[in-house]
Subunit: 198 residues, 2 copies
């Protein structure tokens, strides 16, 4: 397994990093292979196409991020604090980008969602699944907070979770276009208003 | 003026429509020219590059949309209704897309913002100006509503307007990726919660 599985992982790692900063269309297989230090023939041994790679890369990215979000949430105390920790973790990635490279690269799923959609229906479907999973994760925390009467019950947990994900994606978009990480500080206060935090 | 200015307008119209559905990188000058029925030489008579065209196309799109938003707002009664009319107008474009083509194409500025950014700094700057202008327009309506005590005063009008634009862009992103226009119905209820509508 050693070397081959290593090449596969390197291709996935390179594509996750490069696709977030450069987008899907602008990024070619040759560039991914060069970055990963892998021959083109090797690429096609593991993946049928850039589309197939992207679907796997999105899945791997989300599996990793999902774990990190769950860890962040576990450390927090009480349902509202868990929501705050989750937002801090999501937004922290963007802030870290800016600290390292001077640019906000955005969210891989959001970037791909707005660049593609019509062109690559299978990638779009995978992205929709990731967003659904993210919404479900947040909805569970919101339902707990509603149960504890810390968050308003006027709107269902699922709809509130969708509005939180929309708020995060939209704010990252504005922060990216203005290259201004300070905008990211507004996500949690906005989330508190959306949720009607007591 | 007749024919030449006509060719220029046709190039701008084609690029605005095609770029919203296909993105920036995937769209070539040849395709824009074919759609506009204009020769490539003619394109370069009017525009230095695809980048230069995009900056003008974004400006023209916003000038037109700005007028339509202002008209929608003028017809409404009272500051909260003006905000609701503005949201309905912005979201209505996406709903109309879905009705006509079966797909939600998203917002030209949002799509370009997440596809580009690092690659085309001048396009990014133009997009940032459009978003700033959009935020300023909404902030004026919010300030009026705050003045009339119809909207909470706990957060400044500018920050509230940014959170509204983020909510709209984020919801359009989710609606696009799920190709589900029903999500667009959630924008106004979310905006009411963000604003603390009395």
């Amino acid at each position: 397994m050693g070397r081959t599985s290593d090449a596969r992982e390197r291709i996935l790692d390179s594509s996750r990093r490069l696709m977030r900063t450069r987008g899907y269309t602008a990024l070619g297989v040759a560039e991914i292979c060069a970055d990963a230090g892998v021959k083109k023939g090797s690429f096609y041994h593991f993946f049928d196409s850039k589309q197939a790679l992207t679907i796997e890369a999105v899945g791997e990215q989300w599996a990793e991020e999902r774990g990190a979000l769950q860890a962040a949430v576990t450390d927090a105390d009480g349902p509202v604090d868990r929501l705050r920790a989750l937002v801090a973790r999501l937004v922290g990635t963007q802030r870290a980008d800016h600290g390292e490279s001077g640019a906000i690269h955005g969210c891989l799923y959001g970037n791909l969602a707005l660049e593609l959609s019509g062109q690559e229906p299978e990638v779009r479907r995978r992205l929709a699944e990731v967003f659904d999973d993210q919404v479900a994760m947040i909805a569970r925390l919101i339902a707990e907070a509603q149960e504890a009467e810390l968050v308003g019950r006027g709107t269902g947990a699922q709809a509130l979770a969708r509005s939180m994900v929309a708020q995060i994606e939209g704010t990252v978009l504005l922060a990216r276009v203005r290259n201004d990480p300070a905008l990211l500080d507004e996500v949690w206060p906005s989330a508190e208003r959306l949720l009607g935090v007591a």
